[in-house]
């Protein structure tokens, strides 16, 4: 089940300008880390949730949201919430496309993800040439949310965004 975020439509254009500091092609809305945004009088209440507990980007994201709303003339109150816990299901379709164009293969479904990360099946699509003849290099990549793969056809190494459910 996908739990929908509760966001005031008029606030979307402002939130849409805030990008993920680690994957700048994605906005924080694409990532699904904004769970709630409501305007009450001149104060904006926002709830964000971390992708991973130790994600160092959360502090930066909170700062960037504050700056974006200040520029637009609002005061903002940001809460960090843990529940419901973030899942890769909350990454939008636009977000998945942007990830792939950026060179990060988007997350597979849970079962397929497990097979790929155990090196049992070659199913992760190369972001460079589109081949599925790719192999796992490392279960952990440059950040906790990614694993490292390499394409056996074009030899390109690339990141794979791990499924988190």
């Amino acid at each position: 089940m996908i739990e929908h975020a509760d966001i005031d439509t008029e606030l979307i254009p402002i939130l849409d300008k805030v990008s993920d500091p680690e994957i700048p092609v994605l906005t924080i809305l694409d990532m699904g880390v904004v769970r709630y945004a409501k305007l009450v009088d001149d104060l904006v209440f926002i709830k964000i949730t971390p992708t991973y507990s130790g994600c160092p980007a959360m502090d930066v994201i909170a700062d960037d949201i504050t700056t974006a709303f200040k520029k637009a003339g609002y005061k903002v109150n940001i809460d960090l919430i843990l529940t419901p816990a973030w899942t890769t299901d909350w990454i939008s379709e636009e977000g998945r496309d942007a990830l792939e164009k950026y060179g990060i293969a988007p997350p597979l479904e849970a079962d397929a993800d497990k097979e790929a990360l155990l090196g049992n099946k070659r199913i992760v699509k190369c972001t460079n040439c589109g081949s599925h003849n790719t192999k796992l290099v490392s279960q952990f990549g440059s950040t906790a949310c990614k694993a490292l793969f390499q394409c056996e056809d074009c030899q390109e190494p690339f990141d794979y965004f791990k499924c988190l459910k």
Binding site: S53, G54, V137, F140, A144, K165
Partner: protein, 250 residues
């Protein structure tokens, strides 16, 4: 303040803090790039989880303590982590054996903690278990690779398992705070996990062609703040900045 809840939180969080610190020592020193990145990523996950517990503990304490003072400013006797997690990075075998023996426990513990009557604890558990499922997969995988690997890797991982086995029983010891929290439906009754823990560990070790140690005597004391000689060195490094420059921040 609810002293039992506060102490219960430290009992969970201190394990992850000290293990995270141990893994952090490997940053730039892992035996290969892959394992170096993996172990420091696991360290980061653990620190992230620790922050949630300490922030909650600070709220429970309700005085001028915050997550940093709880993490950095306690004397050794007040850290209630188990002895297992402070054991040194002797070699990669020890790093993996320590990780595996802790991860299996951690995963089982968090599975149950998700049902805690305390909403904050249940939320932290639901968040953390997703990360820990990767940790346990990583360390179990390496137990098999090393055990069923070369003669040398087999010997080393067996030595590490034999040496660290004596610290496993303490994972299931219950302090007064633990017992109180279990009675209130907040804490996890770890005594119910013990049999399953050893059964699962034994299965993985067997699959890795390793021998399950047969030991009658186990070490304990960490949960009462009685640590091994390694703990002082860990805390010296962990606390240095805050002690040398009180209240400094980045």
């Amino acid at each position: 303040m609810n002293t039992n809840l506060y102490n219960y939180l430290l009992g969970i969080a201190d394990n992850s803090l000290i293990l995270g610190q141990r893994l952090g020592e490997l940053c730039g020193h892992g035996p290969s790039l892959e394992t170096d990145i993996a172990l420091t990523n696991i360290s980061l996950d653990l620190f992230g989880q620790v922050r949630s517990y300490y922030q909650y503990a600070a709220k429970v304490a309700g005085d001028n303590r915050d997550e940093d003072t709880i993490a950095m400013m306690r004397p050794e006797r007040e850290y209630v982590s188990v002895l297992l997690v402070e054991q040194p990075n002797t070699d990669f075998g020890y790093v993996i054996a320590r990780q595996f023996l802790f991860d299996v426990y951690h995963y089982m513990f968090l599975t149950e903690l998700q049902n805690s009557k305390d909403e904050t604890l249940a939320a932290i558990a639901k968040k953390s278990i997703k990360e820990v499922s990767y940790h346990v997969r990583f360390s179990s995988d390496w137990i098999k690779r090393l055990g069923d690997g070369t003669e040398e890797s087999h010997k080393r991982i067996q030595n590490a398992i034999n040496d660290l086995w004596t610290y496993t029983d303490e994972l299931f010891h219950q302090t007064e705070a633990d017992k109180e929290m279990i009675n209130e439906g907040v804490g996890v009754d770890t005594s119910k996990l013990k049999e399953q823990y050893y059964k699962h560990i034994s299965e993985v070790l067997n699959e890795a062609t390793l021998v399950v140690p047969d030991l009658k005597y186990f070490q304990k004391g960490g949960k009462q703040g009685m640590h091994t000689e390694h703990m002082g060195y860990i805390l010296a490094e962990l606390q240095y900045m805050q002690r040398a420059y009180p209240n400094m921040s980045w």
